[in-house]
Amino acid sequence: MSDAHAPLVEASATRTVPDAPLNPVIEAVDLNIYYGSFHAVYDVNLAYGKNEITAMIGPSGCGKSTVLRCLNRMNDLVASARVEGTVTYHGINIYDPKVDPIEVRRHIGMVFQKPNPFPKSIYDNVAYGPKVTGMKLESSLDEHVEWCLRKAALWDEVKDKLKESAFSLSGGQQQRLCIARAIATKPDVILMDEPCSALDPIATAAVEDLMVELRNDYTIIIVTHNMQQAARVSDRTAFFTARPDETTGNRTGLLVEFDKTTTIFSNPSDQRTEDYISGRFG
């Protein structure tokens, strides 16, 4: 986005990615998602590799955000949502009745489309998670907040105004604060739902750099509308599309192709993927 002439597969090209995710942290098996009687997502099978960035791309309404929200049970907040199939996290089915969704979200953090810092100080935003989860920190809370802000590449910009409102920051800074807030509960997976769609190109570049940096410690799953972003940062890409139902006309999302990002963008095996990435539709 920031540089339209950059080669599409740049970050991925410098990294060797195994053909299939070696240690999948999260696996979705035969995942079907419904809102009431509406079948939103059809039969998704996906494995998200450890310390990899997996991008989910596709046209609007293809169900990629819905799938993302299923991975930490955020869909539970929608009363009519229903999930069939399994999502395993380190081998545990997170939809097992014995699993507490609150505990799931403490392991699988989330960053949203629109920066949504709490109307509190910068410090309190980062300290919120450790406080409510009652985490036992190895260091003091002050040190932990500093560590998170340094991880999110925000420390130098905010260290002198930690007590100021988070709303005094720019949009890009707010989004990096939300990332700092998400890593403060020490998750090992971070879900990002179009994290740059409300940001300008410079702020986008900063967040993308951060994602690549964070890959060393976290497993990152990102939904994006921006194909170049997927190509720049991700190791693997899942392409979704929407198929209209013949009788009702409702559009059900489905997974078309899942492969290494280099393969998806240079040599896709499905015609629909090729049409989408070459800009012929979507």
Partner: protein, 320 residues
């Protein structure tokens, strides 16, 4: 060098007139009428303050400030004018009412906004709003004929000291209990509006960090809605201080300087209502007492609003 419109036009386009197509007198008249409506409420407020002030000054020409603000028994019919006992009466009832109304109202608001399903809320919210409109005389009757005798019969007389004394037929506690219940809908309804206005993105962020429902409500939604919630409290307190009919009927008429719930008290409002409705001669000192007490009431409510305003500015978390 200037270019006029006619220079630019070629022969084919008709001349364009961008002047107003009519004088729009009706619109101007409506704007004038709206301005009049807006200024009317301001003018009436100023008028009330002026009327209050004039007669209050006349009162203080007869009774010195030191007499009015001393601690002592309120007995204007025998020339004793310390307002202290009336203020205590008002504080007594308002305090107990708020002990019931603030937790009750806030609890109802949190449940409605964060826990109730959409369908339940659509039924319960209008019911609460109807309750707000019940005339206070109905609450007064309820307090006098039902709550007071009931409380009196079950009063914990085994308690030691003053609190263990059985109350009279009319007493502060009965009025305060009913006033507390009466204020719950006001506080609940306004607080709920404020909490529902908190963007859902904040709730999602909190859930995404592994918060429980209670943590989302208490640590994110309530702080973000604090200015609206405090405004609800202030409105509740102001209604409590200003409530007349209920206390007139149920709280008794003895101007005791007491904060005990089992005492009979006379509030400032009840005094004004009694005296104004009674047989007093215009121009007597007793007549001017009404205005002096009214001014105290006015200053108390104003002070309340200013304190609340300060707290809102100090602790508000704006999410704009």
């Amino acid at each position: 060098m200037s270019t006029t419109l006619s220079d630019v036009q070629d022969g084919e386009t008709p001349p364009i007139n961008l002047g107003p197509s009519s004088s729009r007198l009706g619109e101007k008249a409506i704007v004038g009428w709206l301005l009049l409506c807006a200024s009317l409420s301001v003018l009436i407020t100023v008028g009330i303050v002026a009327a209050l002030l004039g007669d209050t000054i006349r009162f203080f020409q007869r009774v010195p400030l030191s007499e009015f603000f001393r601690v002592g028994q309120w007995a204007p019919w025998q020339g004793d004018f310390p307002v202290f006992n009336l203020v205590m009466g008002t504080l007594n009832i308002t305090m107990y009412a708020l002990i019931i109304a603030i937790p009750g109202g806030l609890g109802a608001a949190i449940w409605l906004s964060e826990y109730a399903s959409n369908r339940t809320r659509k039924i319960v919210k209008p019911v609460i709003e109807v309750l707000e409109g019940v005339p206070t005389v109905a609450y007064g009757l309820f307090a006098l004929l039902f709550i007071a005798p009931m409380l009196k019969s079950v009063w914990p007389t085994w308690l030691p000291g003053k609190l263990g004394q059985e109350p009279e037929l009319q007493f502060a506690g009965a009025a305060a209990l009913v006033m507390g219940v009466m204020l719950i809908p006001t506080i609940a309804s306004i607080s709920e509006d404020a909490m529902r206005a908190v963007p859902s993105g904040l709730r999602q962020a909190a859930y995404g960090l592994g918060s429980t429902k209670m943590q989302v409500a208490l640590k994110v939604v309530v702080p973000a809605a604090l200015s609206g919630i405090v405004a609800a409290f202030v409105l509740g307190i102001s209604r409590g201080i200003g409530e007349t009919m209920l206390v007139l009927m149920a709280a008794g008429a003895t101007p005791n300087a007491s904060l005990w719930p089992n005492d009979s008290v006379l509030t400032m409002t009840a005094f004004i209502a009694r005296t104004a409705g009674g047989d007093i001669s215009h121009g007597s000192t007793e007549y001017y007492t009404i205005f002096a007490v009214g001014s105290v009431l006015f200053v108390m409510t104003l002070g309340m609003n200013m304190i609340a305003d300060f707290f809102v500015r100090r602790f508000r978390e704006t999410y704009e």
